[in-house]
């Protein structure tokens, strides 16, 4: 992580310590629930593809908060996040029949719908220069997104794999994943030579994969 992010982590560090026991409880029941959910979500998606509105509503109730979190994390603005969330569910409903259960978990499919929509939105903003005010609001919210990430870092056992990544690896992967930055944009923003950015991402991804497989 670079200096700014590290300094942001510091103030929240104290709070985190007191909150940690609560997180532990969260870990205990969160993991089994999310695995049990996959089957249920798969069935709900199958029902949606048959036009079952009640199944769609159940699906919405169970995953909307999570997708909203992802949208907000990508965009950093509540109004945009809501728009993207709404668009995501319209797509989920319309494309439920295209979900390929053998390829990906239902949550992965849905998160990627939301993330892709959010990233497309961000890319459009980057192509069209933002008005001053807009730029501020985008910048203002990103630390809070990072804080969310930090405070919830303990929430999943899987997360130790993220910890195995070196700072620049994690940072470049995260920036690209949530904000849709291309190699060139990353190189410009970090700033670092293009070659370094590529190798951070590729090595980081391999390390992530090995850790998750072990």
């Amino acid at each position: 992580m670079n200096g700014t992010t590290a300094s942001r982590e510091l103030p929240s560090g104290g709070n985190e310590r007191t909150a940690r026991p609560i997180h532990r409880f969260v870990i205990v029941w969160r993991t089994p629930i999310s695995t049990a959910d996959a089957d249920q979500l798969r069935q709900l998606l199958a029902q949606c593809s048959l036009g079952n509105r009640r199944a769609f509503e159940t699906l919405y109730r169970s995953v909307a908060p999570r997708l909203h979190g992802v949208a907000l994390h990508c965009l950093g603005r509540a109004d945009l996040a809501e728009e993207i969330l709404q668009e995501s569910f319209v797509r989920i409903w319309n494309n439920a029949s295209r979900y390929e259960a053998h390829l990906s978990a239902p949550m992965t499919w849905m998160v990627n719908i939301t993330r892709n929509l959010a990233i497309d939105q961000l890319r459009r903003f980057r192509e069209v220069p933002l008005v001053d005010g807009q730029e501020d609001s985008l910048a203002d919210d990103s630390p809070s997104a990072h804080e969310l990430l930090d405070s919830a870092r303990e929430a999943s056992a899987l997360n130790h794999c993220l910890e195995t990544l070196e700072g620049p690896q994690r940072q470049s992967i995260t920036l690209a994943y949530f904000h849709g930055l291309s190699y060139a944009e990353l190189a410009e923003q970090l700033p670092a030579p293009l070659g370094s950015v590529k190798s951070w991402i590729r090595r980081g991804m391999e390390r992530l994969r090995r850790c998750l497989e072990s």
Binding site: E57, Y60, A64, P65, R66, H68, G69, V70, L72, H73, A81, E82, L85, Q86, F89, V90, W93, E100, L103, S104, A105, M107, T108, V111, N112, R115, N116, I119, R123, L148, L149, S151, A152, R153, A155, S156, L158, N159, C161, L162, I173, T174, A176, Y177, F178, G180, L181, S182, Y183, A184, L186, I201, R202, M205, L208, R209, L212
Partner: protein, 224 residues
Amino acid sequence: MNYQNPRLRRALAADYAIGVMSKAARRRFEALMRDDAKLRAQVAEWQENLMVLTESVAEQPVPDRVWQGVVARIDPQRLHLPEKRPFWSRLRILAAACSLVLAVALGVFYNHDPVSASATLLSGTQTPALRVKAHADYLQVEPLSLAAVQADRSLELWAIPVDGKPVSLGLVPKEGKGRVELSEAHKALLGTSVVLAVSLEPAGGSPTGQPTGPVLYQGPLAVL
């Protein structure tokens, strides 16, 4: 570029899954993926791995307006056709439901007259000929396949107790359909185990009080 190189394929699949490709590269890669199931599977694998990044993203409460927005976006697709139709069909269903409720309610209020027992009377060839439903004060008789009766003859309905002589309940209405009113004695008798029978009698019924002609149909009265 040689897209068959396994290392390159893996790296590109990862790049695509993260979202780090430039617009042009993304387009090219999507074109490749369309015809390459293995590549799609590789991307899916990376996407699965990358879910680690979202595990730590806190859930956010969702305002109700989002769901309303979603519904509004989904419903108009059906409303594109004649817009009033769903409304009218819903209204029609509502009206049907209301009238059903009303009918049942009226039935409950005005029809304190449920069927308490019934019998299907069979002919000698075991053909169902007559259905009899016992209400509190009368029998409702319905023909199923009655033989034609000569003008100077009548069909008479009898109740036969387990250990007793047949008791006349009255004549079967013309054409076999109608009511047979019950006296208090008849009602008491039908409360016991009886067989119903129909005999062929002279016009107006048996002169003796007991069946004089052949028994054409019979069947046990089953209490419901």
